[in-house]
Protein backbone atom coordinates (compact mmCIF):
# COMPACT_ATOMS: atom_id res chain seq x y z
CA UNK A 1 0.00 0.00 0.00
CA UNK A 2 2.79 2.34 1.00
CA UNK A 3 4.67 1.38 -2.16
CA UNK A 4 1.64 2.05 -4.31
CA UNK A 5 1.14 5.49 -2.75
CA UNK A 6 4.77 6.26 -3.43
CA UNK A 7 4.54 5.29 -7.08
CA UNK A 8 1.35 7.30 -7.47
CA UNK A 9 3.11 10.29 -5.94
CA UNK A 10 6.02 9.77 -8.29
CA UNK A 11 3.62 9.66 -11.21
CA UNK A 12 1.92 12.87 -10.12
CA UNK A 13 5.30 14.55 -9.67
CA UNK A 14 6.37 13.40 -13.14
CA UNK A 15 3.10 14.65 -14.59
CA UNK A 16 3.54 17.96 -12.81
CA UNK A 17 6.90 18.28 -14.49
CA UNK A 18 5.49 17.42 -17.89
CA UNK A 19 2.52 19.71 -17.44
CA UNK A 20 4.61 22.70 -16.34
CA UNK A 21 4.28 25.69 -18.62
CA UNK A 22 7.02 26.61 -21.02
CA UNK A 23 10.36 27.58 -19.45
CA UNK A 24 9.55 31.26 -19.89
CA UNK A 25 6.60 30.98 -17.50
CA UNK A 26 8.62 29.80 -14.51
CA UNK A 27 9.00 32.29 -11.70
CA UNK A 28 11.70 30.71 -9.58
CA UNK A 29 9.98 32.28 -6.57
CA UNK A 30 9.41 30.51 -3.26
CA UNK A 31 5.74 29.65 -2.62
CA UNK A 32 5.61 32.25 0.13
CA UNK A 33 6.80 35.11 -2.06
CA UNK A 34 4.89 34.82 -5.29
CA UNK A 35 4.46 38.49 -6.18
CA UNK A 36 2.98 38.24 -9.66
CA UNK A 37 -0.09 36.68 -11.15
CA UNK A 38 -2.95 37.60 -13.45
CA UNK A 39 -4.03 41.11 -12.53
CA UNK A 40 -1.86 41.23 -9.39
CA UNK A 41 -0.26 44.56 -8.47
CA UNK A 42 1.03 46.16 -5.27
CA UNK A 43 -0.47 49.54 -4.49
CA UNK A 44 1.65 51.93 -2.46
CA UNK A 45 -1.45 53.39 -0.91
CA UNK A 46 -5.02 52.26 -0.39
CA UNK A 47 -7.27 54.88 1.18
CA UNK A 48 -9.01 53.65 4.33
CA UNK A 49 -12.81 53.80 4.47
CA UNK A 50 -12.74 56.66 6.96
CA UNK A 51 -10.35 59.58 6.82
CA UNK A 52 -7.26 58.93 8.90
CA UNK A 53 -4.49 61.52 9.07
CA UNK A 54 -1.79 59.10 10.21
CA UNK A 55 -2.54 56.65 7.41
CA UNK A 56 -2.93 59.41 4.82
CA UNK A 57 0.54 60.66 5.78
CA UNK A 58 2.02 57.38 4.51
CA UNK A 59 0.72 58.17 0.99
CA UNK A 60 4.13 58.86 -0.53
CA UNK A 61 6.55 58.54 2.39
CA UNK A 62 8.65 55.93 4.08
CA UNK A 63 7.57 54.63 7.45
CA UNK A 64 10.00 54.51 10.33
CA UNK A 65 11.82 51.25 11.05
CA UNK A 66 10.76 49.20 14.07
CA UNK A 67 13.90 50.40 15.81
CA UNK A 68 16.95 52.50 15.02
CA UNK A 69 17.54 55.57 12.95
CA UNK A 70 14.84 56.44 10.43
CA UNK A 71 14.51 58.60 7.34
CA UNK A 72 14.39 62.39 7.10
CA UNK A 73 10.89 63.62 7.98
CA UNK A 74 8.92 66.85 7.82
CA UNK A 75 9.56 69.87 10.02
CA UNK A 76 6.88 69.93 12.76
CA UNK A 77 6.72 73.70 12.22
CA UNK A 78 5.76 73.05 8.58
CA UNK A 79 3.87 69.74 8.52
CA UNK A 80 3.86 68.23 5.04
CA UNK A 81 0.38 68.02 3.54
CA UNK A 82 0.54 65.48 0.72
CA UNK A 83 -2.23 65.17 -1.85
CA UNK A 84 -3.98 62.44 0.11
CA UNK A 85 -3.90 64.33 3.42
CA UNK A 86 -5.15 67.38 1.53
CA UNK A 87 -8.02 65.38 0.07
CA UNK A 88 -9.02 63.58 3.26
CA UNK A 89 -8.54 66.52 5.63
CA UNK A 90 -9.69 69.25 3.29
CA UNK A 91 -6.36 71.08 3.49
CA UNK A 92 -4.17 72.86 0.97
CA UNK A 93 -1.25 70.64 -0.16
CA UNK A 94 2.22 71.94 0.71
CA UNK A 95 5.77 71.38 -0.44
CA UNK A 96 8.09 69.37 1.78
CA UNK A 97 10.22 71.10 4.39
CA UNK A 98 12.71 68.76 6.10
CA UNK A 99 13.19 68.71 9.86
CA UNK A 100 16.82 69.71 10.34
CA UNK A 101 16.88 69.25 14.11
CA UNK A 102 15.82 65.66 14.75
CA UNK A 103 17.98 62.53 15.09
CA UNK A 104 17.69 61.68 11.39
CA UNK A 105 18.97 65.16 10.50
CA UNK A 106 21.90 64.94 12.92
CA UNK A 107 22.99 61.84 11.03
CA UNK A 108 23.44 63.86 7.84
CA UNK A 109 26.93 65.14 7.00
CA UNK A 110 27.23 68.94 6.82
CA UNK A 111 27.07 69.17 3.01
CA UNK A 112 23.88 67.11 3.02
CA UNK A 113 22.34 69.31 5.73
CA UNK A 114 23.36 72.38 3.73
CA UNK A 115 21.67 71.01 0.62
CA UNK A 116 18.46 70.36 2.56
CA UNK A 117 18.60 73.81 4.11
CA UNK A 118 18.75 75.40 0.66
CA UNK A 119 15.92 73.21 -0.58
CA UNK A 120 13.82 74.07 2.50
CA UNK A 121 14.26 77.78 1.73
CA UNK A 122 13.13 77.25 -1.85
CA UNK A 123 10.15 75.14 -0.78
CA UNK A 124 9.07 77.76 1.76
CA UNK A 125 9.13 80.30 -1.07
CA UNK A 126 6.91 77.97 -3.10
CA UNK A 127 9.64 77.07 -5.55
CA UNK A 128 11.17 73.78 -6.74
CA UNK A 129 8.93 71.89 -4.37
CA UNK A 130 8.05 69.00 -6.63
CA UNK A 131 9.76 65.69 -6.05
CA UNK A 132 12.35 64.57 -8.56
CA UNK A 133 9.90 61.86 -9.56
CA UNK A 134 7.22 64.41 -10.43
CA UNK A 135 9.78 66.08 -12.73
CA UNK A 136 10.20 62.80 -14.65
CA UNK A 137 13.67 61.93 -13.37
CA UNK A 138 14.74 58.41 -12.62
CA UNK A 139 14.28 58.07 -8.88
CA UNK A 140 17.08 55.80 -7.68
CA UNK A 141 16.88 53.58 -4.63
CA UNK A 142 15.15 53.57 -2.17
CA UNK A 143 13.12 56.51 -3.58
CA UNK A 144 11.83 54.16 -6.31
CA UNK A 145 9.42 52.80 -3.70
CA UNK A 146 7.77 56.12 -2.86
CA UNK A 147 5.25 56.31 -5.70
CA UNK A 148 1.82 55.44 -4.31
CA UNK A 149 0.69 53.79 -7.55
CA UNK A 150 0.55 50.08 -8.33
CA UNK A 151 3.87 48.25 -8.60
CA UNK A 152 3.88 45.30 -10.99
CA UNK A 153 6.46 42.60 -10.40
CA UNK A 154 7.76 39.95 -12.77
CA UNK A 155 9.70 37.07 -11.28
CA UNK A 156 11.82 34.71 -13.35
CA UNK A 157 14.52 32.32 -12.17
CA UNK A 158 17.11 34.80 -13.47
CA UNK A 159 15.77 38.13 -12.24
CA UNK A 160 13.02 40.04 -10.51
CA UNK A 161 11.80 43.12 -12.37
CA UNK A 162 9.96 45.89 -10.54
CA UNK A 163 7.74 48.18 -12.61
CA UNK A 164 6.35 51.35 -11.07
CA UNK A 165 5.03 54.52 -12.67
CA UNK A 166 6.84 54.00 -15.95
CA UNK A 167 10.15 53.11 -14.32
CA UNK A 168 11.73 49.71 -13.98
CA UNK A 169 14.43 48.04 -11.92
CA UNK A 170 16.20 44.75 -12.47
CA UNK A 171 17.29 42.54 -9.58
CA UNK A 172 19.67 39.86 -10.79
CA UNK A 173 19.28 36.65 -8.79
CA UNK A 174 21.95 34.42 -7.31
CA UNK A 175 24.91 36.25 -8.83
CA UNK A 176 27.66 38.28 -7.16
CA UNK A 177 28.15 41.99 -7.79
CA UNK A 178 30.28 42.92 -10.78
CA UNK A 179 33.77 44.04 -9.87
CA UNK A 180 33.22 47.58 -11.18
CA UNK A 181 29.56 48.19 -11.91
CA UNK A 182 29.00 51.13 -14.25
CA UNK A 183 27.40 53.90 -12.13
CA UNK A 184 23.70 54.04 -12.87
CA UNK A 185 20.41 55.48 -11.61
CA UNK A 186 19.21 52.27 -9.95
CA UNK A 187 22.65 50.80 -9.36
CA UNK A 188 23.44 47.13 -9.68
CA UNK A 189 20.96 45.05 -7.69
CA UNK A 190 21.68 41.45 -6.88
CA UNK A 191 19.23 39.35 -4.92
CA UNK A 192 18.59 36.00 -3.35
CA UNK A 193 15.65 34.30 -1.70
CA UNK A 194 16.22 33.38 1.90
CA UNK A 195 13.17 31.34 2.89
CA UNK A 196 10.25 33.52 1.88
CA UNK A 197 12.25 36.76 1.93
CA UNK A 198 13.91 38.36 -1.09
CA UNK A 199 17.10 40.12 -0.03
CA UNK A 200 18.42 42.69 -2.47
CA UNK A 201 21.82 44.33 -2.26
CA UNK A 202 22.44 47.38 -4.45
CA UNK A 203 25.63 49.33 -5.15
CA UNK A 204 27.02 51.10 -8.21
CA UNK A 205 24.81 54.19 -8.11
CA UNK A 206 25.45 57.49 -9.80
CA UNK A 207 25.13 60.54 -7.53
CA UNK A 208 22.32 62.20 -9.50
CA UNK A 209 19.36 61.02 -7.43
CA UNK A 210 17.98 61.81 -3.99
CA UNK A 211 17.24 59.16 -1.36
CA UNK A 212 13.85 60.68 -0.54
CA UNK A 213 11.39 63.34 -1.68
CA UNK A 214 12.98 65.98 0.57
CA UNK A 215 15.84 65.94 -1.96
CA UNK A 216 18.39 64.46 0.43
CA UNK A 217 21.47 63.88 -1.73
CA UNK A 218 23.94 60.99 -1.60
CA UNK A 219 27.25 60.00 -3.13
CA UNK A 220 28.22 57.15 -5.44
CA UNK A 221 29.17 55.18 -2.30
CA UNK A 222 25.48 54.62 -1.58
CA UNK A 223 24.67 51.05 -0.58
CA UNK A 224 21.09 49.88 -0.06
CA UNK A 225 19.86 46.55 1.26
CA UNK A 226 16.16 45.78 0.81
CA UNK A 227 14.20 42.89 2.29
CA UNK A 228 10.93 42.03 0.53
CA UNK A 229 8.49 39.78 2.36
CA UNK A 230 4.76 39.18 2.58
CA UNK A 231 2.93 39.92 5.80
CA UNK A 232 -0.75 40.18 6.72
CA UNK A 233 -1.67 36.79 5.16
CA UNK A 234 0.01 37.71 1.91
CA UNK A 235 -1.95 40.91 1.45
CA UNK A 236 0.88 43.30 2.25
CA UNK A 237 4.31 43.43 0.68
CA UNK A 238 6.74 44.85 3.19
CA UNK A 239 9.90 46.41 1.84
CA UNK A 240 12.29 47.08 4.71
CA UNK A 241 15.49 48.81 3.67
CA UNK A 242 18.74 50.04 5.13
CA UNK A 243 20.72 52.84 3.54
CA UNK A 244 24.39 53.51 4.09
CA UNK A 245 26.66 56.04 2.46
CA UNK A 246 29.95 56.91 4.17
CA UNK A 247 30.05 60.06 2.03
CA UNK A 248 26.68 61.42 3.18
CA UNK A 249 25.42 59.77 6.38
CA UNK A 250 27.34 59.15 9.61
CA UNK A 251 25.45 55.96 10.36
CA UNK A 252 23.16 53.68 8.34
CA UNK A 253 19.47 54.47 8.57
CA UNK A 254 16.41 52.40 7.75
CA UNK A 255 12.83 52.67 6.68
CA UNK A 256 9.95 50.61 5.37
CA UNK A 257 7.44 51.00 2.63
CA UNK A 258 4.42 48.69 2.56
CA UNK A 259 2.43 47.94 -0.55
CA UNK A 260 -1.01 46.39 -0.69
CA UNK A 261 -2.08 43.51 -2.89
CA UNK A 262 -4.67 44.53 -5.47
CA UNK A 263 -6.06 42.17 -8.09
CA UNK A 264 -7.67 43.59 -11.18
CA UNK A 265 -7.12 41.89 -14.54
CA UNK A 266 -8.29 45.05 -16.28
CA UNK A 267 -5.57 47.10 -14.68
CA UNK A 268 -2.34 45.93 -16.22
CA UNK A 269 1.09 47.34 -16.41
CA UNK A 270 0.94 50.24 -18.81
CA UNK A 271 3.09 52.79 -20.55
CA UNK A 272 3.96 56.17 -19.05
CA UNK A 273 4.70 59.44 -20.79
CA UNK A 274 5.80 61.60 -17.88
CA UNK A 275 7.27 64.42 -19.96
CA UNK A 276 4.05 65.01 -21.87
CA UNK A 277 2.38 68.21 -20.70
CA UNK A 278 4.78 68.71 -17.80
CA UNK A 279 6.16 72.17 -18.50
CA UNK A 280 6.44 74.90 -15.88
CA UNK A 281 3.23 76.56 -17.07
CA UNK A 282 2.87 78.80 -14.02
CA UNK A 283 6.53 79.81 -13.80
CA UNK A 284 6.99 78.50 -10.27
CA UNK A 285 10.62 77.43 -10.59
CA UNK A 286 9.90 73.82 -11.44
CA UNK A 287 12.93 71.77 -12.38
CA UNK A 288 12.88 71.19 -16.14
CA UNK A 289 12.10 67.60 -17.16
CA UNK A 290 15.11 65.69 -18.53
CA UNK A 291 15.51 66.80 -22.13
CA UNK A 292 18.05 65.72 -24.72
CA UNK A 293 19.51 68.69 -26.61
CA UNK A 294 19.23 66.73 -29.81
CA UNK A 295 17.95 63.29 -30.74
CA UNK A 296 20.43 60.67 -29.54
CA UNK A 297 20.45 58.70 -32.81
Amino acid sequence: MAKKTLSTLAAVALCALLATDAVGAETGAPAGLNLSGPGVAWAGFVAPKESNYQIARTFNDYSNPVSGLGPVTDDPAHPFVNNEVAREMNLQPTYRVADLNNEAAKNLMPWVQEALKKQNELALKGRNGESREARCFETGVPAFHLNPGPMHIIQTPKEVVLFLAGRSRHIWLNVPHSRNPKPSWYGESVGRYEGDTLIVDTVGFNDKTFVDSYRTPHTDKLHVVERFRLIDNGNTLEVAFTVEDPGAFYKPWSGTRNRHRVVNPNNRLTEAACAEANDDYFNIGLEPVPTAEKPEF
Partner: protein, 238 residues
Protein backbone atom coordinates in the same frame (compact mmCIF):
# COMPACT_ATOMS: atom_id res chain seq x y z
CA UNK B 1 8.62 -3.12 -15.32
CA UNK B 2 7.57 -2.20 -18.78
CA UNK B 3 3.90 -2.54 -17.83
CA UNK B 4 4.37 -0.40 -14.76
CA UNK B 5 6.01 2.42 -16.72
CA UNK B 6 3.23 2.22 -19.18
CA UNK B 7 0.60 2.52 -16.45
CA UNK B 8 2.35 5.58 -15.01
CA UNK B 9 2.51 7.02 -18.51
CA UNK B 10 -1.16 6.34 -19.11
CA UNK B 11 -2.14 7.89 -15.76
CA UNK B 12 -0.03 10.84 -16.62
CA UNK B 13 -1.67 11.21 -20.00
CA UNK B 14 -5.01 11.33 -18.21
CA UNK B 15 -3.80 14.00 -15.77
CA UNK B 16 -2.17 16.02 -18.56
CA UNK B 17 -5.36 15.72 -20.59
CA UNK B 18 -7.37 16.94 -17.61
CA UNK B 19 -4.95 19.85 -17.14
CA UNK B 20 -5.11 20.66 -20.84
CA UNK B 21 -8.89 20.78 -20.68
CA UNK B 22 -8.72 23.25 -17.80
CA UNK B 23 -5.96 25.48 -19.16
CA UNK B 24 -4.62 26.29 -22.61
CA UNK B 25 -1.64 24.29 -23.82
CA UNK B 26 1.79 25.49 -22.77
CA UNK B 27 2.88 28.41 -24.90
CA UNK B 28 6.08 28.27 -26.94
CA UNK B 29 8.95 29.88 -25.04
CA UNK B 30 9.99 33.16 -26.65
CA UNK B 31 11.15 34.75 -23.40
CA UNK B 32 14.61 36.25 -23.13
CA UNK B 33 16.69 39.23 -24.18
CA UNK B 34 16.94 40.28 -27.81
CA UNK B 35 19.02 42.84 -29.66
CA UNK B 36 18.85 43.93 -33.28
CA UNK B 37 22.11 43.74 -35.24
CA UNK B 38 21.19 46.69 -37.42
CA UNK B 39 19.23 49.92 -37.28
CA UNK B 40 17.54 51.97 -39.95
CA UNK B 41 15.95 55.36 -39.37
CA UNK B 42 13.71 54.68 -42.33
CA UNK B 43 11.24 51.81 -42.23
CA UNK B 44 11.93 49.36 -45.06
CA UNK B 45 8.86 48.01 -46.83
CA UNK B 46 8.74 44.22 -47.19
CA UNK B 47 8.88 43.51 -50.91
CA UNK B 48 10.68 46.78 -51.61
CA UNK B 49 9.56 50.20 -52.74
CA UNK B 50 8.33 53.15 -50.76
CA UNK B 51 5.62 53.09 -48.08
CA UNK B 52 2.29 53.31 -49.99
CA UNK B 53 1.29 56.78 -48.79
CA UNK B 54 -1.96 58.20 -50.14
CA UNK B 55 -2.36 61.92 -50.86
CA UNK B 56 -3.12 62.75 -47.22
CA UNK B 57 -0.22 60.58 -46.13
CA UNK B 58 2.19 62.29 -48.54
CA UNK B 59 1.13 65.72 -47.32
CA UNK B 60 1.53 64.68 -43.67
CA UNK B 61 4.91 63.06 -44.30
CA UNK B 62 6.24 66.11 -46.16
CA UNK B 63 5.13 68.38 -43.35
CA UNK B 64 6.52 66.19 -40.54
CA UNK B 65 9.85 65.39 -42.17
CA UNK B 66 10.41 69.07 -42.99
CA UNK B 67 9.42 70.05 -39.43
CA UNK B 68 11.80 67.49 -37.90
CA UNK B 69 14.62 68.91 -40.04
CA UNK B 70 14.02 72.58 -39.28
CA UNK B 71 13.13 71.94 -35.63
CA UNK B 72 9.56 73.22 -35.82
CA UNK B 73 8.37 69.70 -34.95
CA UNK B 74 9.95 68.08 -31.91
CA UNK B 75 10.83 64.40 -31.99
CA UNK B 76 9.50 63.97 -28.46
CA UNK B 77 10.45 60.31 -28.25
CA UNK B 78 14.11 61.28 -28.60
CA UNK B 79 14.05 64.70 -26.92
CA UNK B 80 11.92 64.17 -23.78
CA UNK B 81 11.67 60.39 -23.91
CA UNK B 82 7.99 59.71 -24.32
CA UNK B 83 7.27 56.27 -25.86
CA UNK B 84 8.22 55.66 -29.50
CA UNK B 85 5.00 54.09 -30.67
CA UNK B 86 4.59 51.00 -32.83
CA UNK B 87 6.44 49.96 -34.94
CA UNK B 88 9.18 52.52 -34.19
CA UNK B 89 9.88 50.99 -30.77
CA UNK B 90 10.50 47.65 -32.47
CA UNK B 91 13.24 49.28 -34.59
CA UNK B 92 15.19 50.33 -31.47
CA UNK B 93 18.95 49.76 -31.64
CA UNK B 94 18.86 48.95 -27.90
CA UNK B 95 18.16 45.49 -26.48
CA UNK B 96 14.78 44.50 -25.11
CA UNK B 97 13.42 41.66 -23.04
CA UNK B 98 10.35 39.46 -23.38
CA UNK B 99 8.64 37.91 -20.36
CA UNK B 100 5.92 35.27 -20.44
CA UNK B 101 5.02 35.37 -16.79
CA UNK B 102 2.39 35.94 -15.47
CA UNK B 103 0.80 33.61 -18.01
CA UNK B 104 -2.01 35.95 -19.02
CA UNK B 105 0.32 38.40 -20.70
CA UNK B 106 3.47 38.72 -22.74
CA UNK B 107 5.49 41.71 -21.59
CA UNK B 108 8.09 43.47 -23.67
CA UNK B 109 10.48 45.71 -21.76
CA UNK B 110 12.71 47.92 -23.88
CA UNK B 111 15.97 49.37 -22.65
CA UNK B 112 15.25 52.51 -24.69
CA UNK B 113 13.48 54.70 -22.16
CA UNK B 114 12.28 51.55 -20.32
CA UNK B 115 9.18 51.42 -22.47
CA UNK B 116 6.77 48.55 -21.99
CA UNK B 117 4.36 46.79 -24.27
CA UNK B 118 1.89 44.47 -22.60
CA UNK B 119 0.31 41.90 -24.87
CA UNK B 120 -2.82 40.59 -23.21
CA UNK B 121 -3.18 36.87 -23.91
CA UNK B 122 -6.58 36.12 -22.41
CA UNK B 123 -8.83 38.81 -23.88
CA UNK B 124 -10.21 39.62 -27.32
CA UNK B 125 -9.10 42.76 -29.16
CA UNK B 126 -11.05 45.70 -27.73
CA UNK B 127 -13.14 47.85 -30.04
CA UNK B 128 -11.59 51.18 -31.02
CA UNK B 129 -14.75 53.04 -29.95
CA UNK B 130 -14.14 51.87 -26.39
CA UNK B 131 -10.55 53.13 -26.40
CA UNK B 132 -10.92 56.69 -27.64
CA UNK B 133 -10.43 58.10 -24.16
CA UNK B 134 -7.39 55.88 -23.61
CA UNK B 135 -5.34 56.11 -26.79
CA UNK B 136 -1.75 55.16 -26.10
CA UNK B 137 1.66 55.70 -27.68
CA UNK B 138 2.27 51.98 -28.00
CA UNK B 139 -1.43 51.14 -28.37
CA UNK B 140 -3.41 48.31 -26.81
CA UNK B 141 -2.31 44.81 -27.75
CA UNK B 142 -3.76 41.34 -27.49
CA UNK B 143 -2.08 38.15 -28.58
CA UNK B 144 -2.36 34.44 -29.12
CA UNK B 145 -0.09 31.71 -30.38
CA UNK B 146 -0.64 30.01 -33.71
CA UNK B 147 1.81 27.13 -33.58
CA UNK B 148 5.19 28.67 -32.85
CA UNK B 149 4.10 32.18 -33.85
CA UNK B 150 2.84 34.86 -31.49
CA UNK B 151 0.17 36.87 -33.28
CA UNK B 152 -0.15 40.36 -31.79
CA UNK B 153 -3.04 42.61 -32.75
CA UNK B 154 -2.83 46.24 -31.70
CA UNK B 155 -5.24 49.13 -31.85
CA UNK B 156 -5.93 52.36 -29.94
CA UNK B 157 -2.80 54.34 -30.83
CA UNK B 158 -2.58 58.06 -30.21
CA UNK B 159 -1.31 60.11 -33.15
CA UNK B 160 1.66 61.67 -31.32
CA UNK B 161 4.12 59.14 -32.68
CA UNK B 162 5.74 58.46 -36.03
CA UNK B 163 6.09 55.02 -37.58
CA UNK B 164 9.81 55.63 -37.95
CA UNK B 165 12.51 58.20 -37.17
CA UNK B 166 11.98 59.98 -40.51
CA UNK B 167 8.46 60.95 -39.43
CA UNK B 168 6.30 58.51 -41.37
CA UNK B 169 2.77 59.38 -40.25
CA UNK B 170 -0.15 57.37 -38.95
CA UNK B 171 -3.62 58.13 -37.72
CA UNK B 172 -5.50 57.19 -34.57
CA UNK B 173 -7.43 54.51 -36.42
CA UNK B 174 -4.28 52.59 -37.35
CA UNK B 175 -4.27 48.92 -36.45
CA UNK B 176 -1.37 46.50 -36.69
CA UNK B 177 -0.87 42.75 -36.71
CA UNK B 178 2.51 41.32 -35.82
CA UNK B 179 3.74 37.79 -36.35
CA UNK B 180 6.54 37.14 -33.88
CA UNK B 181 8.48 33.92 -34.13
CA UNK B 182 11.64 32.53 -32.63
CA UNK B 183 13.77 30.24 -34.75
CA UNK B 184 17.02 29.10 -33.20
CA UNK B 185 18.76 32.17 -31.85
CA UNK B 186 16.76 34.61 -33.90
CA UNK B 187 13.50 36.40 -33.25
CA UNK B 188 11.53 37.83 -36.14
CA UNK B 189 8.66 40.33 -36.06
CA UNK B 190 6.72 40.91 -39.27
CA UNK B 191 4.28 43.76 -38.79
CA UNK B 192 1.35 44.59 -41.04
CA UNK B 193 0.21 48.19 -40.93
CA UNK B 194 -3.40 48.97 -41.66
CA UNK B 195 -4.10 52.70 -41.85
CA UNK B 196 -6.38 53.74 -44.72
CA UNK B 197 -6.26 57.33 -43.49
CA UNK B 198 -2.67 57.68 -44.74
CA UNK B 199 -1.88 54.60 -46.84
CA UNK B 200 -3.35 53.19 -50.07
CA UNK B 201 -2.97 49.58 -48.91
CA UNK B 202 -1.83 47.43 -46.00
CA UNK B 203 1.92 47.04 -45.98
CA UNK B 204 4.57 45.26 -43.98
CA UNK B 205 7.88 45.83 -42.27
CA UNK B 206 10.17 43.21 -40.75
CA UNK B 207 12.51 43.29 -37.78
CA UNK B 208 15.06 40.67 -36.85
CA UNK B 209 16.78 40.31 -33.50
CA UNK B 210 19.47 38.04 -32.10
CA UNK B 211 18.81 36.23 -28.81
CA UNK B 212 21.22 37.86 -26.36
CA UNK B 213 20.71 36.31 -22.95
CA UNK B 214 24.29 37.35 -22.18
CA UNK B 215 23.16 41.00 -22.12
CA UNK B 216 21.58 42.73 -19.12
CA UNK B 217 19.18 45.57 -19.78
CA UNK B 218 20.65 48.80 -18.42
CA UNK B 219 19.08 51.94 -16.96
CA UNK B 220 18.11 54.54 -19.52
CA UNK B 221 17.47 58.18 -18.69
CA UNK B 222 16.79 61.02 -21.06
CA UNK B 223 19.80 63.23 -21.72
CA UNK B 224 22.24 60.76 -20.16
CA UNK B 225 25.11 58.75 -21.58
CA UNK B 226 24.02 55.36 -22.78
CA UNK B 227 25.42 52.00 -23.72
CA UNK B 228 27.83 51.39 -26.57
CA UNK B 229 25.89 50.78 -29.78
CA UNK B 230 28.90 50.29 -32.04
CA UNK B 231 27.87 46.67 -32.57
CA UNK B 232 24.63 47.74 -34.22
CA UNK B 233 25.01 48.55 -37.92
CA UNK B 234 23.50 51.78 -39.13
CA UNK B 235 23.35 53.66 -35.82
CA UNK B 236 24.76 57.14 -35.91
CA UNK B 237 24.95 58.83 -32.56
CA UNK B 238 24.32 62.53 -32.91
Amino acid sequence: MHTRNFSIGAGCALIVAATAAAAPAAAPDISGTYWAASYSAKLAVVGGGEPPLNAAGKAAYDKISAGLKDGSILDKARRVCVPDGVPRVMASPYPFEIFQTPADQVTMLFELNHQVRVIVMDRPLPKLEGLITDLRYNGHSVGHFEGDTLIVESIGFNDRTFLDATGLPHGESMSTVERIRKTGNQLEDVITIHDPEFYTRDWQARFVYAARNDVRLEDYACNDTHRDLSGVRGVQRK
